[in-house]
């Protein structure tokens, strides 16, 4: 890794002496570049150095230095480590050029940075708020912005610990509720933002034909049985054909990052469970990796094996669940889902036995896992992995794969080409079903994945059907890994060092990423040596995968929008955070 960084640095600084400077702060890596040179440098990165994949864009508010920093993580789709680029601007009215012309996948992430941090991206095609609403007061992730129930900068709050005097947050707020308004504000004079503007911008009148046809704007969601939660799409229709589509999110924005920056490092672990609430174990994994990178520790052997085991069980669980949902969206209401949920229950039993909770496992710790796996549970896992799960997988395959209706509705629908998938920063099954063999487990191996034999399945048509088939393939590979884990898992400790409530995290930054079931899940953590992270950002795979939704849906029928969405496999807890 260090070697690589040097190679990068020499070539980057060769190309841009004085413009690209290595980031020399202790614990930091990557390069600093001035905003005015950003576009030129990124173009070179993409076109000459092969960094064709923009994984994460986020901002950090360095209040003490009065700087706003935008952090970019680039990768090569052929594999390898990250190239981290940073650009700093003043905190007051920060403006950074938008990367959307080069990497359209930056669209949502830049909107998020504008919404939460108030960083303006020049030339962004649609710089509106994304997680909060237009008109919301302030930019919440700025360090000097305080929420209505603000108590203290960092946990544990003195009122609660060690003495433990609890009060209701409502009692301290002048409105006795979780709200705050600017001084002198008069609610009667407020004219709320309506959707008229959004609709007006979308609607076009087609005058080309003999008839004057008008396009219709249809709203799907946020309460809609097929949007997998509280997701909303505004669809422009010409007859039944989708002309354009705008996803609208934020209906489940739970302020994960703001709360995360008040929490101590360990306190964030249970919150990660609630990101992608179908796969809590994978979320734990990503966060643990990021913080362990900062702390410079490694879990013992047995813990590594347990981690991989849990991650792969989660992948199986997630994929079978998402296939069930996809069939739901196709109209096979609930019956396939019942088959999927049956297997899910069995895996959840395992999770409950090891962690104490079915869904919100909170099982990983920095430097290990929380509890060892008892023998009986191991037996159970063995039975599942060696016998039941492969059988059930074949059963699903048998019933669904060659079904006439499934093929008719899925083949050739919702196509995403390989180039577009990369450009739009898609990841996970969406990317691999479009023919890009990119899987973090192989491309940038973490934990002990190098030891296992498994393939990275790829499919090439990029349609719904391929995404479905790819999930089946991946489940087979997961089972293969699981079999090897069960064969090789050693006895031994499950934690390095003593379990602690308060971990010491040296100052610096780290980006931990794992191949979650839904795509590349990354955690960007900045520590300043205090017990709480200074910045805690989640690169949520499904949030970014949604960038390609409009592209997949254009030209399709309205009924297919629902299936396309199902094939991306979103979870709103992660999209909105």
């Amino acid at each position: 890794m260090n070697e690589q960084v040097e190679v990068q640095s020499s070539s980057l600084s060769d190309r841009f002496p004085e413009i690209v400077l290595p980031d020399t702060r202790t614990g930091y890596s990557g390069f600093l570049v001035k905003p005015e040179n950003l576009i030129a440098v990124v173009r070179t990165l993409r076109e000459e150095m092969g960094y064709d994949y923009l994984s994460s864009v986020t901002g950090v508010d360095y209040l003490p230095e009065n700087k706003m920093e935008v952090v970019y993580h680039f990768y090569r789709t052929t594999g390898g480590g990250a190239l981290v680029l940073k650009t700093q601007v003043e905190r007051e009215n920060p403006v950074v050029p938008s990367l959307t012309p080069l990497f359209p996948g930056a669209e949502f992430q830049e909107r998020e940075a504008w919404d939460l941090l108030g960083i303006r991206f020049a030339d962004h095609p649609d710089l509106r708020r994304i997680l909060t609403w237009e008109g919301f007061h302030g930019h919440p992730l700025r360090k000097d912005w305080k929420e209505p129930f603000f108590e203290e900068e960092a946990k544990p709050f003195k009122s609660r610990w060690p003495e433990g005097h609890v009060y209701r947050a409502e009692d301290k707020n002048p409105f006795h509720d979780n709200v705050q308004f600017p001084a002198g504000f008069d609610p009667e004079l407020w004219s709320p933002e309506t959707d008229e503007l959004l609709y007006a911008g979308l609607k076009r009148v087609d005058k080309t034909g003999d008839f004057l046809t008008e396009q219709v704007v249809v709203n799907l969601g946020p309460q809609h049985p097929s949007t997998h939660g509280v997701f909303r799409m505004v669809v422009v229709l010409d007859g039944e054909t989708v002309v354009d589509l705008k996803p609208i999110m934020g209906y489940l924005h739970r302020n994960h990052e703001k709360i995360g920056e008040r929490n101590t490092f360990l306190q964030n672990m249970p919150f990660t469970d609630r990101l992608d609430y179908v796969c809590s174990m994978s979320n734990n994994f990503g966060y643990a990796l990021a913080v362990e990178k900062l702390m410079g520790i490694h879990p013992p052997e047995r813990a590594e094996y347990i981690r991989v085991m849990m991650a792969e069980l989660t992948r199986y669980l997630n994929h079978i669940f998402s296939i069930g949902f996809l069939l739901n969206d196709l109209g096979a209401f609930f019956t396939p889902m019942l088959y999927a949920l049956e297997e899910r229950e069995l895996i959840l039993d395992v999770f409950e036995a090891v962690s104490g909770s079915r869904m919100m496992c909170n099982y990983f710790r920095f430097g290990g896992v929380a509890r060892d796996i008892p023998d009986e549970v191991m037996q159970k896992i063995r039975k599942l992995v060696l016998d039941r799960l492969p059988r059930k997988l074949d059963e699903m395959d048998y019933f669904i794969t060659h079904n006439e209706i499934v093929r008719g509705r899925c083949e050739g629908v919702g196509v995403l080409t390989a180039e577009r998938a990369i450009a739009l920063s898609a990841s996970g099954p969406v990317l691999r079903a479009s023919g890009v063999p990119y899987d973090v487990r192989r491309a940038d191996p973490y934990s002990i994945y190098e030891r296992f034999e498994f393939n990275i399945p790829v499919r090439y048509n990029g349609d719904i059907y391929d995404r479905y088939l790819l999930r089946l393939d991946e489940m087979r590979q997961s089972l293969r890994i699981l079999q090897q884990v069960l064969r090789d898992i050693p006895e031994g400790p499950i934690m390095s060092g003593k379990p602690q409530y308060q971990v010491r995290v040296p100052a610096g930054e780290a980006y931990g990423r794992v191949e979650g079931p839904k795509g590349e899940l990354g955690f960007y953590v900045v520590s300043n040596g205090k017990p709480n992270p200074w910045r805690y950002h989640v690169r949520a795979p499904t949030f970014i995968n949604l960038t390609s939704l409009a592209e997949m849906c254009r030209g399709q029928k309205i009924a297919d929008v629902v299936t396309v969405l199902g094939s991306i496999d979103i979870v709103l807890g992660e999209v909105d955070r």
């Binding site: 609403w133 302030g138 209505p148 979780n178 504000f185 049985p225 302020n255």
Partner: protein, 220 residues
């Protein structure tokens, strides 16, 4: 299913007819039929919704309680299970859905979030409990509540329904209930019922000439 519950005491039914005939009161039969055919609205908000789906599936199977008909439309539902975190952006829609449900209607707050904000209470866009806006009949603790807990919540609600009387239920009163005013998204969430209070507090803040409530952003 309890014929015993259905039968009113004091009427002797000949033994040969006991499983075919019941003598009961209007209230009892009305409540008995309602409580055994609750139709929940198909409406999931967050993580808790996944457990709700789990409860609907084969292992826990809430169709045993006559409620497998999940309705996507509020017009056809009589039970709203608020399963997850209620955010400020979503609450106008939830209130609207609630207003669209015909009476009799019930609300279950499933999980810590819906009951009181849960782990995300301190967040800036989280409504600390759906009961700030709509009346809740049953609260279920847990994060997420296990399917067993949810089933227990259903049974509790059934018990509540059992105790209602035609004479006093609000939906047969002379004056129909008012719909709940829909909250508005302003600089923050505004409850139309609290406009006066907001105006008052904000006015006071302006008079004091200092920063607004509890440290506000200095920007914009």
């Amino acid at each position: 299913m309890g014929d015993e519950n259905l039968n009113s005491a004091g009427y002797e039914i000949p033994p040969e007819m006991q499983s075919q005939v019941a003598i009961t009161t209007l209230d009892k039969i009305y409540n008995w039929s309602r409580k055994n055919s609750l139709w929940p609205m198909m409406f999931g908000l967050a993580c808790c919704a996944i457990e709700m789906i789990g409860t609907a599936a084969s292992r826990f199977d809430f169709s045993r309680f006559g409620m497998e008909v999940m309705r996507p439309s509020p017009r056809q539902a009589d039970l709203m299970i608020v399963s997850g975190t209620v955010t400020k952006k979503m609450i106008p829609q939830i209130v609207r859905l609630y207003n669209q449900m015909p009476e009799p209607r019930y609300v279950i707050a499933m999980g810590a979030c819906a009951s009181g904000g849960g782990p995300f209470k301190e967040g800036y866009t989280v409504v600390a409990g759906v009961d700030k806006f709509i009346p809740v009949d049953v609260y279920i603790p847990g994060c997420p509540p296990t399917p067993q807990a949810l089933l227990h919540g259903f049974i509790t609600l059934m018990k509540k329904i059992e105790k209602q009387s035609l004479r006093s239920v609000p939906w047969y009163q002379k004056t129909p209930g008012e719909p709940i005013p829909i909250p508005i998204l302003g600089p923050d969430l505004m409850d139309p019922r609290k406009f006066d209070q907001i105006k008052q507090v904000c006015g006071k803040l302006a008079e004091q000439g200092n920063e607004p409530a509890e440290g506000e952003a200095a920007h914009e």
